[in-house]
């Protein structure tokens, strides 16, 4: 690398990088996102150049069938890399058709995409050459005899039998350490997850996580569906993140179809998104109290949580805000009077309990220096959301990637903390509660929201074009940046979809957090502070 080492993000010299890559511009470039088509052999070099400029963040990587009309596509597969150019306020999407069944491992130069490389191998049988041995991520060992994802497609069928030798068996532990298995059936009301905690007795030395028990293949189930019907499934990929993931998906479809969402509808669904943030942060606080054995605090926060959920139901008709977001707007308006009446009192209660918790030494002692993710790891693993901000990363999609020109998040103050421990993440969440409350009140006062009694406005914009269309959607969900990529076919049905909830990103730092000199009882505390869902990862 040339030039002085610096931790300050710089603007990517994008033009210089693109000059080095003799690809053709992707025709479906959209506002806020730039497309570029490359040769497969150039992808790794591109990732290296972008990674070296320190302003580009590898946000996602996936494989989808090429559209039949694409040059070189002919029913094959295309590898996609999505970079977030946060200083430039746009995304860069690199696409390269896959010619064989392998590609040069991108994770060698951009470690953030290691999990995605494992996913691609399991789902499509395409293997990275070089790089690390792969882990089991989405499919359970022995699931390989299932029918192929897409018959007749040359890249897709997976005919592997048994567990391939190149898949690392993660349970070999040397020395005096042993693997303490937890799960997949865990505590009451917890999601299924296998955690292999490597220990010599008390301290967690290492951890192996297996998320595949909950894999439902939602990305594959939505193929062939109407976008509206697909949205129903997408919301159910991660219930406590339904608005965030649904919004990213709806935006991808809107971007692909050229639908312009009316300003009032856009703002109404942003209200739902902030309400989702509020109740999730309350739920995370309740889980933190529970895991630290603070029963009184837990009960107090659970009262607030239940009241947030009841407020959601009163304002939008659903406790978890399912069915609020629709392709092209919202499916129902919000009850603004009830919202403005209930919101302030609930947020004041969160603040009161938050300050009480931060003033309770026995609580704070458990949080400090537990589950540390340092800034370097957060950047290397491509973390997003409160977990990244707790480690000092100044990244918030609401500010860095405004969806439209008239985006409503002006003046957003992004909360960050520097220590990267559980306490930092709690502090970030508490500050975000204030910010969400401020945003909702501002939108309520603007009078632009769609009321529950109003007729829903119809989306504007040109009539949807015929032909294959593609679009990228994003938003700052509760757990961080949610991305979605949608390909529509001639009839407007979903031809291919990629969902990337924030949980997909942030789980990969969980074992790093566990390794930072923690004991068994810290595991639940760290899990509560990450506040991720297995469902979002396994989708």
């Amino acid at each position: 690398m040339t030039g002085p080492l610096t931790t300050e993000p710089r603007r990517v010299d994008l033009e210089a990088v693109l000059r080095e890559l003799p690809g053709s511009p992707e025709p479906t470039t959209q506002p806020g996102a730039l497309g570029r088509r490359l040769e497969l052999a150039q992808l790794k070099r591109a990732a290296q150049l972008l990674g070296a400029s320190r302003g580009a963040r590898l946000a996602d990587m996936f494989v989808l069938p090429s559209a039949p009309a694409e040059a070189g596509g002919d029913g094959g597969l295309t590898l996609h890399l999505v970079f977030g150019l946060d200083q430039d306020r746009r995304y860069l999407l690199l696409q390269a058709p896959l010619s064989g069944r392998s590609y040069a491992a991108i994770s060698e130069v951009a470690p953030a995409c290691f999990v995605e490389e494992c996913e691609i191998f399991e789902l499509w049988g395409i293997k990275p050459t070089g790089g690390h041995p792969l882990n089991r991520v989405l499919l359970a060992p022995g699931a390989d005899s299932a029918p192929p994802l897409r018959s007749g497609s040359p890249g897709a069928p997976r005919s592997r039998r048994g567990v391939p030798t190149e898949v690392r068996a993660p349970h070999v532990v040397r020395g005096e350490a042993f693997e303490f298995p937890v799960g997949p059936v865990r505590g009451v009301g917890q999601e299924s997850l296998y955690m292999g905690l490597v220990t010599t007795g008390e301290e967690v030395l290492d951890a192996y996580l297996a998320w595949f028990h909950k894999h439902r293949g939602i990305e594959h189930q939505v193929v062939g569906m109407d976008p509206e019907m697909a949205l129903f499934r997408v919301e159910r990929c991660e219930g406590p993140g339904a608005v965030g993931n649904g919004l990213a998906f709806a935006r991808a479809v809107e971007s692909a179809s050229g639908i312009v969402v009316p300003a009032g509808a856009e703002r109404t669904r942003l209200v739902a998104l902030e309400l989702e943030r509020l109740y999730n942060h309350a739920a995370a606080m309740a889980a933190l109290c529970q895991s630290t054995g603070l029963g009184v605090g837990q009960a107090q926060v659970e009262i607030i949580l239940e009241n947030f959920l009841r407020l959601n139901a009163a304002v939008f008709g659903h406790r978890y805000l399912f069915g609020v977001v629709a392709v092209g707007g919202v499916r129902r308006g919000c009850d603004g009077a009830t919202l403005s009446e209930g919101l302030s009192a609930l947020c004041a209660s969160v603040r009161q309990i938050g300050s009480a918790l931060l003033g309770t030494n026995s609580f704070v002692d458990r949080l400090e220096a537990a589950g540390v993710v340092d800034a370097e790891a957060a950047a290397r693993l491509g973390l997003v959301g409160p977990v990244a901000r707790g480690s000092g990363a100044d990244l918030d999609v609401r500010r860095d990637h405004p969806w439209s020109a008239g985006d409503s998040h002006s003046g957003l103050e992004v909360a960050t903390a520097v220590n990267g421990d559980v306490l930092s993440r709690l502090q970030v969440m508490l500050q975000e509660v204030d910010e969400s409350e401020r945003l909702i009140h501002r939108w309520l006062q603007s009078g632009e929201l769609i009321d529950v009694a109003d007729a829903l406005p119809t989306p504007a914009g040109p009539a949807p074009e015929r032909g294959e269309r593609r679009g990228l959607g994003w938003c700052e969900s509760v757990r961080g940046e949610a991305l979605s990529w949608v390909q529509l076919d001639h009839d407007g049905k979903v031809a291919g979809a990629r969902l990337r909830p924030a949980s997909v990103r942030n789980w990969r730092a969980f074992d790093d957090a566990l390794r930072s000199r923690n004991v068994f009882t810290d595991v639940a505390i760290i899990e509560a502070s990450f506040w991720l869902t297995v469902a979002g990862f396994a989708r």
Binding site: F322, T338, S349, I353
Partner: protein, 191 residues
């Protein structure tokens, strides 16, 4: 301020005016009615002790959230004589969420078989009922084919109140299934 201080009974730390609106009141009175009925039934039939185990077979995590809220102050399952237990061997009732992901098959069967008889299975949510997913290479599309289901609680997700009502039905089913003959040692046929 110390959190314990803030929890003193007469300093009400959570001033929630919204909960006084009529909709919330109707929920609260309904919770009270169902709770009273459940408490009476459990106390009569099970001596205030019915134990519940939960298992997730691929839910979206909302059902789990609602199940956790059953122990929160608004609902407080424990006062009714219902308890969550981490051990299936202590459980009388299995709450199943999710559409039955294939990878959970073994864990689901092992959990069910570890529970002593008599036992009931209560499915929670639309996924477990078969309303969201279709059978394919990833899920069974519902848990109906995997276990004998006693009670189905619909909803996406079912609210804690719906869960309480479902448990009330389940408790009656469990009572109906308890037959003194089942506990009589009947010789070699018993494993």
């Amino acid at each position: 301020m110390n959190v314990l201080e803030s929890a003193a009974p007469n300093s009400r730390p959570v001033p929630v005016r919204w909960s006084q609106n009529p909709k919330a009141d109707s929920v609260s009175s309904e919770v009270a009615r169902v709770s009273a009925e459940l408490r009476e039934t459990i106390s009569r039939l099970f001596g205030r002790s019915l134990h519940i185990r939960t298992i997730d077979t691929g839910s979206c995590a909302s059902c789990e959230s609602e199940i956790r809220l059953l122990t929160a102050p608004h609902y407080d399952l424990h006062r009714l004589g219902l308890f969550f237990t981490p051990a299936p061997r202590h459980a009388d009732c299995l709450l199943v969420t999710g559409p039955g992901a294939l990878a959970m098959d073994h864990a689901l069967q092992a959990t069910y078989e570890a529970m002593p008889d008599p036992k009931i299975v209560v499915t929670v949510g639309a996924c477990a009922l078969g309303g969201v997913f279709v059978p394919d290479r990833f899920t069974h599309g519902g848990v109906g084919r995997l276990l004998p289901i006693d009670v189905v609680i619909p909803g996406c997700p079912p609210s804690p109140l719906a869960l309480l009502q479902g448990l009330l039905v389940g408790v009656d089913r469990l009572h109906a299934s308890i037959n003194p003959d089942r506990f009589r040692f009947s010789g070699a046929s018993r494993p």
